[in-house]
Symmetry: C2
């Protein structure tokens, strides 16, 4: 079992550990519930020990919120524009209790927002590495709690923005007068499309100006209580696409690569045509590919060929 | 003690009871914590009995969420355009346990949103009644959990929209990654102004596209943790003003009458100049004046002159 690298995709709510084989493929994956905000007793050290338990003593490279101020060790941000190759030159080292060294990939900061990301920069590196001949200009979308729209020019991240669609949805669905106490989410594609259309026709005021229509539509029977969540999902995802267009993060017809969970990406692909957007699903484990790529650039793989 | 009318401003979180004198002035006010969602044991009947306890048996007129589907009795909406004088002709009667009759003012529905209001229509009637010579066109703003922007033409509500600023602020302040766990709100006018400026310069994407900058600014030390709430308040109020302008609910320089709580109205007045908006504070108890006005139009005051 040759293991040149162990990778950790360590976010705020979960931890994924990857054991790589010599070809850079993921030989084994562990999904653990220990995000940087939900650690086991013993904290980061204990979570780390359990994540790599029984695996060979290869170099360990991590990305994500583990490197945030509230994480294990703060890994300073690199400012955009930033070449993806520069990530490998700015790793932050942490001594793990078993004598191993954990290396953490830096996050990125866009000073014009300002805006920050941690973990997505590694996914971007992974997507580019998996692309046989990337175009000079690549536009990516990583939907989620905090959706990221990222612009890459010849291997450098030139800028990005965060749109809080997923978190706003969770807040409105769980805690607002619009969504709290309603029946569990269904999958009402018609209600989703109605929400997308509301965002598309919201004009310069924007989709958030139409939020309360969810309540009015429900009161007058045009929207079933069980379909309100789908309407809100369509409205918020549609408004994210509207904002991305208005902010210059996407252009009609120009391809945008979408990286993320299947079900969520499918919703964005469903909403895109109403805005003339050409979203393209990118398959593959972007974070794992990115960790391998950063490790290769950093020269970590040659130091322990048979670790 | 002549009491020609008792008025109830009965919302979702609180109940205000007014005993009027013969001149239409409020002789006595009771503020009770029993909104339609927080009722005492015994429900609406008990809350009603306690609200009017010991007061003369005058007609009782109520407005607000007491007339919603989840209220005491649903009072059907009137559609806009709707003359304010028509409210008095569409009261819904409820028999109270002590033999009194409670009359509920209808809410309004704008079919173009669609959008709905309950209680604010009575405040609009009150503001107009208190104005010696209202202009042909009056534009009102009632800021709050669900801010209402209302257009009145010659005594008729011609349209309105709801912007959920107050509820979004509470959700982001209390439950989001941006605000949860931060120190209690201060009053950092500079952070508020920074938020307003972020909304004003957000361009077509809109202020919600700048939400995450609150986190980035805090991480880089440009915003103290205790000032994040003020920044968010400025961003959301600023974005409400931007949306109102974009949606045609306000125009630069054209007066907008602002009705509501002093501290909240003051924040809107503070943000308005950045958007060229001429907000004007309307003083006086709009709901009480509106209840009196609707009762007068309905002929309720003459039936019980010495009740």
């Amino acid at each position: 079992m040759n293991t040149p690298l162990v990778g950790l995709d360590w976010g705020s709510t979960r931890l994924r550990a990857y054991r790589f084989d010599e070809a850079g493929a993921v030989a084994e994956t562990r999904a653990l519930p220990w995000g940087s905000r939900q650690l086991p007793e013993g904290g980061f050290e204990e979570a780390f020990a359990r994540a790599v338990e029984g695996w060979p003593r290869a170099p360990v490279l991590a990305c994500g919120m583990v490197g945030s101020r509230g994480g294990w060790r703060e890994a300073p941000y690199l400012d955009t524009p930033c070449r993806l190759a520069a990530l490998a030159g700015a790793l932050t080292a942490v001594d793990a209790p078993d004598g191993r060294t954990l290396l953490i990939v830096p996050g990125l900061r866009d000073p014009t927002g300002p805006d920050v990301m941690r973990g997505e920069e590694t996914q971007v590196a992974g997507v580019l590495a998996q692309s046989p001949a990337p175009a000079d200009d690549v536009q990516l979308l990583m939907p989620g709690t905090h959706s990221k729209w990222v612009r890459v020019h010849r291997g450098a991240v030139t800028g990005f923005t965060t749109l809080m669609t997923g978190e706003l949805f969770a807040l409105l669905r769980g805690h607002s007068v619009l969504g709290a106490g309603l029946p569990a989410d269904g999958t009402d594609d018609e209600a989703f499309a109605l929400g997308v259309a509301a965002a598309r026709t919201s004009g310069a005021a924007g989709g958030l100006s139409r939020l309360f229509s969810a309540r009015a539509l429900m009161l007058e029977g045009a929207l079933a209580p069980a379909s309100v969540a789908d309407f809100l999902s369509g409205l918020l995802i549609g408004d994210e696409l509207r904002m991305a267009l208005a902010g210059g993060w996407a252009a009609p017809g120009a391809p945008v690569q979408v990286v993320g969970e299947d079900a969520l990406c499918a919703r964005y692909l469903l909403a895109a045509p109403a805005f003339g957007l050409a979203l393209q699903r990118t398959s593959g484990a972007a974070a794992a590919a990115g960790l391998w790529q950063v490790a290769a650039t950093a020269g970590l793989l040659h130091g322990h060929p048979h670790a």
